[in-house]
């Protein structure tokens, strides 16, 4: 049990790190200090705008060739949670009196790569249950703010491994692709029970709606990016990439889980009726491959100190899975020999064709660099809401000062500030940023550190 919790939490933690990078978790202290904006022509831009592959990195002055995160947060984390004692650590140990599920979830939402200057606060109020023969009332107090009124979850589309060598602007290669979505939403009645402390009502369904999807595979790709107009000082770059998606495995599920109350809240041996149903479709590894075509396109305009770009990824990327199995499952409360029949599965729908769609992501950005000053702004939507980042950097010889502001996917305003110092080909950067990717109604503050190579 303990090992499962520990390993599951660590696995989720590491798996979450990649998608969270696209949702406001930065591994680059320079970006963190500028509210997340990228002021360099680097991989973070060319990931979403294929035209930037052709723009020379030297277009923007002062940019580092590489940034290596220095994970001081892990030192802090493993000091607080010794690695040899993880299986007994209260953080991962539900049997411990100090186990706190909110703290564990916040750890997953924000991996401890960097030092947490201000941890997300967890409510410390009492929670009161009112129980009577015909009464159930739950008053979570201040913790009501943690109950999400809107759908919540994670979604990301990524290409964790890409091998696309460039031959004079033509890129031919293959990318590994992954697409995951998890979304949960509390039903209205359950929401009122937990968030507004409404008493449970008779003959009412209390449920959680959920859906999840995971798919992945390889995508042979061909693309081109290059200067299509102008000269060194004033140029238009364009890029296009075509991906033929080959899906290796796919699974999705949509369902509802809950119960319906009776005429009395606590009556008899079974006062509530389970209401559980799910539709699951999947194509296992080794089954027929999914297939589909998606297009990336982008343009970039470089005019002296200004760089402007607009890129769109995964246009029309619909994956067709020709041989999926669809199961309809429901919990049957019909009593047989004194007990409910339980889960009943209808697996008669075999060899069905299913289509899934990769989310279209887009990036619009502008960078203005003049002398020792650089400012920039970007709007990024990677399939789950747009984020806006605005930031600036001012260099004073070897020293850089940075600041920025952002609007995250939860539409909350976040702030960043920091600085750096350069020693010849190396530099050390420090960035502070506020973040709201936690189960809390107040911002946390993290401090990122990284080593820059110029």
């Amino acid at each position: 049990m303990r090992t499962t919790v520990v390993s599951s939490a660590l696995a989720v933690l590491f798996l979450a790190a990649a998608p969270l990078a696209g949702q406001g978790f930065f591994t680059n202290a320079q970006r963190a200090g500028m509210g997340g904006v990228s002021l360099r022509v680097d991989a973070s831009l060319s990931r979403y705008n294929v035209a930037y592959r052709a723009v020379p990195p030297r277009t923007i002055q002062g940019g580092a060739k590489a940034s290596i995160p220095i994970p001081f947060g892990l030192i802090q984390f493993f000091k607080d949670h010794p690695i040899g004692n993880l299986t007994n650590d209260p953080l991962f140990h539900p049997d411990s009196a100090r186990f706190n599920p909110v703290e564990l979830l916040n750890l997953i939402l924000s991996p401890p790569l960097f030092i947490q200057v201000k941890e997300p606060p967890t409510p410390t109020n009492d929670v009161t249950f009112g129980i009577g023969k015909d009464l159930l009332q739950v008053d979570l107090g201040k913790a009501q703010t943690l109950i999400p009124a809107e759908p919540f979850g994670l979604a990301w589309s990524s290409r964790p491994i890409t091998v696309e060598p460039d031959f004079h602007g033509v890129q031919v290669g293959v990318a590994m692709w992954l697409h995951n979505e998890v979304e949960l939403q509390l039903g209205d009645s359950l929401l009122a029970l937990l968030k507004d402390a409404h008493p449970a009502r008779h003959q009412t369904l209390y449920n959680v709606l959920g859906n999840g999807l995971a798919e992945g595979g390889l995508a042979p790709s061909v693309g081109y990016s290059g200067r299509v107009y102008g000269n060194e000082d004033r140029s238009m770059y364009a890029g296009i990439g075509v991906h033929y998606y080959l899906g290796a495995a796919y699974g999705s599920s949509t369902g509802s889980g809950g119960f319906t109350t009776g005429d009395t809240i606590f009556a008899g041996a079974n006062p509530v009726r389970p209401d559980l149903r799910a539709t699951t479709s999947y194509s296992k590894w080794g089954n027929s491959l999914g297939h589909g075509v998606g297009v990336d396109a982008g343009v970039a305009w470089v005019a002296g100190p200004i760089v402007f770009g607009l890129g769109v990824n995964d246009i029309g990327a619909t994956i067709t899975w020709p041989d999926t199995r669809i199961d309809y499952q429901r919990y049957d409360t019909t009593t047989v020999s004194g007990s409910a029949r339980g889960w009943v599965t209808d697996s008669t729908k075999l060899h069905a064709e299913t289509k899934t769609k990769l989310p279209v992501s887009y990036l619009a950005n502008v960078i203005y660099s003049l002398g020792s000053s650089t400012v920039g702004a970007e709007v990024l939507n990677n399939g789950r809401g747009a984020t806006v980042h605005v930031g600036a950097e001012q260099r004073f010889g070897p020293i850089a000062v940075r600041g920025g502001i952002a609007r995250d996917q939860r539409k909350k305003v976040e702030f960043g500030f920091g600085g750096g110092v350069r020693f010849g080909p190396f530099g050390f950067d420090l960035g502070f940023w506020t973040r709201s990717n936690a189960l809390a109604d107040q911002r946390a503050i993290s401090m990122a550190t990284s080593l820059a190579i110029y």
Partner: protein, 181 residues
Amino acid sequence: MNRTWITVTLIAASLGAGCGQGRVIFNVDVYSFLKTANRDTVPYYAPLPPGVPDTIPVQTVNLLPTGAGSSIVDSASLTGLIAFVDAQGTGSVTYQLYIDTARAVYTRAALLTVSSGSVSPGDSVNTPISLNIPAAIKPFFTSTKVYIGARVASTATSPPVQGRARLTALQLSVALQDKIF
């Protein structure tokens, strides 16, 4: 008992457990369970006629459907009100409340004894109930349910005595340190 309350309870309890030093408090309306089962009123007699029980059938009171794990019960108290309504004879009445996690509640000592004082025909003596539950009993409230019993005994000074002991309120409050899992 109520396994399917688990969904809501786990969500709520998770948040409760996540509330740092916050406690999980249960306010259980025990009276509502007794009232629904028509066990809020117990007749009393002195002397007790043969074959007439002086106890109520054991009643089940639901607590947290998942139980409260190995949580520590900070405090537990019982408050309420009982009315001794005397119809005939003069004497005194005692009302005893039993509680246990096993159904055989009458095999252990009474948790609470309430005395009416002297009652006479036509009297309706309202007696408040207030008890801080002893440490030995507190762990009972981390269970999914407890069993409740009541016994009424009467002593006659002018027999025969006959009347009813009628609960009008009985509230159990339990505060747990947040350790549901």
